[in-house]
């Protein structure tokens, strides 16, 4: 394969060279257990503490409010179930949205089986939650609002500051799954009134299998993984020292030149959107025109199916993703695309490109050129397109 264009940075990212370099010593020489009191143990402890400070600084938190986990899914599960069970005496109601990641949705469904009630807020055609509906949903039994910062499929960024304000005024904890937002958007947990926030390192050029849950001081939450006294008795398990160091370094790099990075991504993103919509008919762009992640592009290409698109792109050395149910062999296409009102058959033709640090303008050109050919070929096979051409 001559050319390889990775445009699925929302799925995962490669670990950056500088990140891996900082991690390396912790596999071999500096392997001490951070709970041990001898020299190499203390060195590991110091590395974790430093990482905690580095992470805290980025989101304007206190170091002691940063807890390391095994990734975004664990952080989401911990935040939601941990807060729910710890505040059961206060109430049993949780508010979330219909377009959350499965880690949030399935944690909420689990709680529904355990005596909790969950309100799933609607979103508008752009994927933005309805703030009025949110306000009206809050009762005196509401203990948690969990709404994602930015959506992983359509890239829509929520009005987090407003949500935080509403939550604070009503005295309800506010958790946000910032797995997709972090590294792309400035986040100040105080300004935004965020009480809990999830991240996952592999989404911002750090390693897979390590994440963070930010827990504001004073928030009542149960531990989720019980055992040793790590993470101030709140998250047991020998710490993934190399991973934690990598997470911190990756996060720092992401915020080092955020503006420049975003400018480049927005330029490439908008070019991709413009050229594809110009060159292919019956294409729509999902998500919000402005309030979207700098690297996210989500198309619905009518009369073709997502998996077929992905396989064809793969044959041409292009990595992308789709919200089609056929990707997973399940019946319903992406709950996000349905929630913004796409009909099933159009959701099936959805295609997501997420741009990242290593993409170039040539990549975009190559993708456009390839996609035009692929769509043409697939539409020739499609009985639906035939009908359209014939004006049926």
């Amino acid at each position: 394969m001559e050319r390889y264009v990775y445009m699925d940075y929302a799925a995962t990212t490669p670990v950056k060279k500088e990140v891996l370099e900082e991690m390396m010593p912790y596999f071999t020489e500096k392997y001490g257990n951070p709970s041990s009191i001898y020299r190499i143990g203390r060195e590991s402890r110091a590395a974790i503490d430093e990482a905690r400070e580095r992470v805290a600084k980025i989101i304007e938190a206190k170091p002691k409010e940063i807890y390391f986990t095994s990734g975004g899914s664990e952080s989401d599960n911990w935040a939601i179930k941990g807060v729910a069970f710890a505040n059961r005496d206060k109430g049993n109601h949780i508010i979330t949205s219909k377009i959350e990641h499965h880690a949030v949705l399935h944690a909420c469904e689990y709680l529904e089986k355990h005596g909790f009630e969950v309100t799933y807020l609607d979103v508008d055609e752009y994927g933005i939650v309805d703030l009025e509906q949110l306000k009206n949903a809050i009762t005196d039994k509401t203990i948690l609002i969990t709404i994602m910062f930015a959506n992983n499929e359509i890239g829509t960024i929520q009005p987090i500051q407003e949500i935080g304000k509403i939550a604070r005024e009503k005295g309800v904890y506010f958790h946000t799954d910032a797995v997709q937002a972090i590294g792309n958007v400035e986040i100040d947990v105080n300004k935004l009134n965020i009480d809990l926030l999830s991240m996952s390192a592999h989404k911002f050029y750090g390693p897979k299998g390590v994440g963070v849950l930010y827990i504001r001081e004073g928030v009542k939450i149960h531990p989720y993984i019980h055992g040793g006294a790590q993470e101030k008795n709140r998250r047991a398990g020998t710490e993934n020292v190399a991973g934690i160091v990598g997470l911190a370094k990756a996060l720092e790099l992401a915020y080092e030149n955020l503006e420049e990075h975003n400018k480049k991504l927005v330029y490439l993103r908008d070019k991709l959107i413009k050229e594809v919509t110009n060159k292919i008919d019956y294409v729509r762009v999902n998500g919000h025109p402005e309030k979207r992640l700098p690297g996210n592009v989500n198309f619905s290409i009518e009369f073709v199916e997502g998996e077929a698109l992905l396989l064809s792109l793969d044959m041409m050395g292009i990595a992308a993703s789709s919200g089609s149910a056929c990707t997973s062999g399940s019946l319903d296409p992406s709950h996000v695309l349905l929630a913004i009102g796409l009909p099933h058959e159009i959701a099936h033709g959805s295609l997501r490109f997420t741009l990242g640090d290593f993409n170039t303008e040539e990549d975009v050109d190559y993708v456009v050129e390839s996609l035009v050919k692929i769509v043409e070929r697939l539409r020739e096979m499609s009985p639906l397109y035939e009908n359209v051409k014939e004006g049926k």
Partner: protein, 140 residues
């Protein structure tokens, strides 16, 4: 995920298109579920002399259509009726379990086209008595 054969039939599908004066046309599936398969048959003296397909669906659905048309081309109606989705999947060197239903679609589309032929020509085809083309083949 997919065998080389599946990918070959997906990338270079055989018998794509339509037959203008087809003797039988069958369409199954539902765009809502992400897949529609349409089969056109040209039949002379009980033999399928030509077959074409159009498919809106995943890689496995396209490959299954292509393989299914290859398997019945030149065969008698009796043989075509007996084509099972399993045979299609086997001829493709297997399909992932979650994708088996896509090959069911191919079997159904052929049966639907044969049924159409039978109706148009007022004949009965053994093996199609209980076939209902509107039944949802999905066992997602």
């Amino acid at each position: 995920m997919y065998s080389e054969k599946v990918m070959d039939h997906f990338m270079n599908p055989r018998n794509v298109g339509e037959i203008e004066d087809a003797d039988g046309v069958g369409q199954v599936g539902n765009p809502k579920c992400g897949d529609i398969m349409k089969i056109y048959l040209k039949i002379e003296d009980g033999i399928i002399v030509d077959v074409k397909f159009k498919t809106f669906g995943c890689g496995s659905a396209i490959a299954s259509s292509s393989m299914a048309t290859e398997l019945i081309k030149g065969k008698s109606i009796e043989e075509a009726v007996k084509l099972t989705n399993k045979a299609v999947a086997e001829a493709l060197d297997g399909l992932p379990p979650v994708k088996m239903h896509c090959s069911v679609l191919a079997e159904q589309a052929i049966k639907a086209a044969l049924l159409d032929y039978a109706k148009k020509n007022n004949v009965t085809i053994e093996g199609l008595e209980d076939f209902n083309p509107d039944e949802d083949p999905h066992e997602h």
